[in-house]
Each structure stands twice: as C-alpha cells, then as structure tokens.
Amino acid sequence: MSELVPGATRLYKKSRAEDFGFTLEEFCGIVTDAVNRQSLADLRLNELILARACARGNNKAWEEFLSLYRAKLHSAALGITKEESVAREIADSLYADLYGTRADESGERISKLESYSGRGSLEGWLKTVLAQEYVNRLRKERKLVSFDESIGNRMDGISERLPEEECAQLRQATDAALIELSSEERFLLAAYYLDERTLGEIGRMLNVHESTVSRRLEKITSALRKRIIVRLKKAGITKDAAEEMLDLDVRDLGIDVRSRLAQER
C-alpha cells in the first residue's frame, strides 16, 4: 500500500506516526483515506496522525495533545460561552467525547477525534466542534429564538397599505433579485441584516477586514435595489412608485408573516 502514497516513508517519519505506534501500512491507510477527500498537499498530516493516535488511545499522543491543546481548548470555550462555569462544562464534555465515552458493537471506544479529517487545523476543528456543541445546547435550552418567532414578533400589529397586486409584484421582483445574488452575497446580507452581526464579526468569520465586508455590503445593497426597481418598472410601475414601495416599512404591508411562513415552507 505504501506505493500509493508518494514519499510515504519520508512522510511516515515526518508525521511521527512511528512514535505514536502506527505501522507504515496503517499510516498509508490513514493517508489514502484522507486524500480521497482532498489533495495530499493540503492535508494537515501531523495533526491528523496525532488525532488518530489519540483516538487509538496512545498515551504519548494524549500527552502531546493535552500539552498542545488543553489550554487552547479552555480558552476557546471561554471565548465562545463568555462564562467560566459554562466554558468549563462544555470543554470537559468535549474532552469526554474526544476520549470516547461510548463504545461500538465490538466494545471499542468511539473517540470523536476519529472524525477529524485533517482538512483544516486541529485547533480550528476543536473550536468549531465546541461552537457546535454550544449552539446545540442553546437550542435544547430554547435560548435560540427561531426565525419564525423573531420575524413574527417583529411583524405583529401590521396594517394594510398596499393593494395585493402591487404587493405580489414587489414580492416577485425582490425574490427574483435575491435569487440572482451569489450564495456568498446572500450570506453577507443574512449575516448583517438578519443576524445583526457587526462588520467585525463577519470579517472574522470570512477572514477578511471589516472594511472589505462594508464595501461589499454597500455594493450588494445598492445593486439589489437597482435590480428590484428595474423589475418593477418592467412590470409597469413607475420609478418613483417603485422607490416608494421599496421604502415602505414592511410592517405597513399588511402581511401575515406567520401564515406566510407556514404556507411557504
């Protein structure tokens, strides 16, 4: 199998797989499996081998893992939860999962580290897993308000302002313009205008400066408005009327949001 992995022996030594008790064949098996999903050049080989060795219960690997990631994991948990006690709780819970508290049919422990693919950094993966755990926990505790609820709350007490026909034209024009946007553009709009995240937060999510996010949002918003107006004009609405329709407060549109959400899903 080693001939399937170019430079297998060199990589085997470099990744310290031997130190963690893997044979060359086992190492090649792990690498072959991982490169099915990505190129070898992009693989975080050392971290993948460390994670797999920990999943197998290698003590040396665990020592190294703890020395490298223990402090970072607690710090990340605190950064995510902003509460010391909750941070400790989810970090400890993740440790248990990483070590493997459940067993498969043959009685072998199932370590969460087994699912690390080496595609991103191990540290980043741990942070993402922590964030997922935290969001799951919030959902279970019903601390996350669903969009249906939040929109419904905002749209309560609406009154009729536009005729149904014009409202339908506006809806069609808007939906068509939104579909024309790229998925990245829709993500930016959703993150900023729906989640009400700051430019800095979005910048950190995408690894770009907040001024870049700001510029892009400006561009998307103005382009979107122009496209909607063009579509409304095509539907026979004057530019001024189209502008006026877009500037209406949605709460004045006479839409029963709760029933609309129920219909459209």
Partner: protein
C-alpha cells in the same frame, strides 16, 4: 452602511430554513481557513445563507480566541473611526512621557546619575564594550559633528532631554581621549543621534566601560522613585519601523522606539537582506524581505530567528511585501508575486 429595504429584509428572512443537515466540523473549519475548492466554498456559502445556526457556529468559532467578550457591537460598525482613538491614545502616551521627562523628579534623578557616571568614568580604566548583533547601530560621522549640529538641520523636532545631556558628557569625555574639538557647554541635538555608540565604532579602545544610559535605565531609576511616592507610572510602548532600504548602512535593519517616537534605536536583523515588511504585535516582531526571508523576534527585538517559509512541496523564494499578524499563531504573508502564505501555528507550518 446602505439601508436595506425592510421588504427585502423580510423576503430574505423568508428564505431562512430550520435545517437539520449541517456541514460537519471538518468542512466548516476548512471553510473558515479557506481551504475548500471554489465549488465546495460556494456550497457552504449556500448553506450558510439560509441556515442561521451554522452562521452562529461559524461566528462563535471565529471569535473563540477572544477570552473576554469581544469588543464587538457598535464600535465595530464604525470602521472609519478606529484611528482617531488610536491616535489619541498615542498622543496621550507621548504627552505623559514628555511631562515625566521634564519633571523635576526626573531631572534630579538624571543629575544624580550623570554625576555618578562622571565620577566613575574618572576612576575606572577604559575597556571596550561588548557589541552584540542587536546593539545600537554605529554611525561613524556623528561624534565629531555632535557639538556643532545646528538645531535647524534636524528633520525631526529637537528635544532637549536628560538622556542626551548625559551623552554629551560622555562625548566630552571621549573628545579628551581622542582629541576631538571641545564641545560647547550647552548643545541641542536630535534625539536620534546615538553619540556614544558612534564613538564606539570610531575608537573602540577608548570607550568607558560603564553601560550606556538607555531609556530603560532612566525609566527604571525614575520609576522606582515615582513608585515609592505612590504615583502611577506609564510603561513605555515600543514603536517599530523599517530601516531605509536604500541606504547601505541601514540595509537589513529595523528601528525601534520605546518613548513614543522621540528616539529611535537601529536594530540589525540581517545586514545581507533588504527588508520590505514589518509587523509588530506586543513583543512579537515579524520582519520580511527579499528572497522570502522572514525573521521573528519573540522578545521585542532582542533576539531574532530566521523562519523558513515552506510547505511540503514548495518553498517561498519571492520577496515578502506584507505581513499581517492576525494573532500570535496566525500570520499571513503576501509576496511580490501576489501569493499568500499562511501559518496557524506561529510559523511552524505554512501553506500557500
């Protein structure tokens, strides 16, 4: 920020879904690290655009480094104003430093120190001082010119500070030894001139053995008194800039100021390399230059190591034109060919 029509916002909200099938942590992390193919990235964006939960996960993971609740919210919505606060903070630091320098307490401590040094200089034999690679860069022509340097000749604002008066004492002591013209009793020089260091280069065997008074020694001496008096004392902040790449004498050097920019120390990094980029974050200083050479100091410029920027299959050989320090572990380099190299483990591993 342009206002998005309420109706558009409403229609956008209608596209949100309560999904149950989410990308796994590997994909999300690879997305955050920009390691996905364009197609995969577009797919993840498509999911994120309609899944508020995954946006929350991505945001939390991205802000996980901040131990304290990040200073998010309103301040970050106004990116154009950050420099005002930073400039104001820098101005306050400079003002406080200047006031302390000019304070009677500081003057007294300097007079005492200067008197003591003069006495020691007379009594002790002259031995050359040890020079380390990071010592102050010698400037050969400065000692002779020091006494007659006109006030207007300096491009920087002339500051009369005790440090330089002390150096003037040293210079007059040196001039007696190496037969330089007698300096006038009171001179005003630019804060940048390292007179004793220049003399060191000119006549190494004529240099007094006592350590050159630095900002830190003065700071410590004065700080002890101020602390004893129960008053607060500001810590100096290091400022960094590149040496002039065109001048042979400053090639491969950077300059550091610990007093808000009044005086600058020239620090040698690698004289054989032209340096083009510098980034400082606390005590971590990163400097990059020609031929892909990257240098790092983790102790505010005292010691430097050269970092090899290479992935498993390629090595960076282009000039480094920009260094972005995202945090202690994540550094992004830009090269003259437009490539970008990133490390997420403080420079141990790199990827293009």
């Amino acid at each position: 920020m342009a206002k998005l029509s309420q109706f558009v916002r409403f229609r956008l909200a209608m596209q949100q879904r309560q999904l149950t099938d989410h990308p796994d942590a590997n994909l999300m992390e690879a997305f955050a690290e920009q390691r996905l193919s364009a197609r995969e990235r577009a797919e993840i964006f498509g999911h994120l655009a309609t899944c508020p939960e995954c946006r929350e996960v991505l945001s939390l993971a991205a802000s996980a480094d901040a131990n304290t609740p990040a200073a998010l919210s309103e301040r970050e919505r106004r990116p154009a104003t950050w420099w005002i606060w930073r400039s104001a903070a820098a101005a306050v630091i400079c003002l406080v430093t200047t006031v302390i320098w000019r304070s009677p307490l500081f003057e007294n401590s300097m007079k005492l120190e200067s008197t003591a040094k003069a006495v020691i200089a007379k009594k002790q034999p002259v031995v050359p001082a040890a020079v380390t690679p990071n010592d102050v860069e010698p400037e050969k022509s400065k000692p002779a010119k020091l006494p007659v340097l006109p006030k207007q000749a300096s491009p920087r604002k002339s500051v009369q500070i005790p440090t330089l008066r002390l150096r003037q004492d040293t210079a007059s002591h040196l001039s007696a030894k190496i037969s330089l013209p007698e300096p006038p009793p009171q001179v005003e020089v630019t804060a940048q001139v390292p007179s004793s260091a220049a003399a060191l280069d000119r006549a190494p065997d004529q240099i007094p053995s006592e350590p050159k008074p630095t900002f830190q020694t003065q700071y410590r001496a004065n700080a002890a008194k101020v602390f004893a008096s129960g008053k607060a004392y500001p810590r100096p902040k290091s400022m960094w800039t590149l040496g002039e790449a065109t001048a042979a004498a400053t090639q491969g050097t950077v300059q550091k100021s610990e007093d808000g920019g009044s005086t600058w120390q020239v620090i040698r990094v690698d004289p054989s390399t032209l340096l083009y980029a510098l980034s400082a974050a606390g005590p971590n200083i990163w400097v990059g230059g020609a031929d892909g050479k990257l240098f790092h100091s983790a102790d505010d410029g005292l010691h430097w190591i050269q970092i090899t920027v290479a992935s498993d299959y390629s090595r960076m050989t282009e000039s480094i034109t920009k260094i972005d320090v995202i945090d202690e572990q994540q550094i992004r380099l830009k090269t003259s060919s437009g490539d970008e190299w990133v490390t997420v483990d403080g420079g141990l591993h790199w990827r293009r």
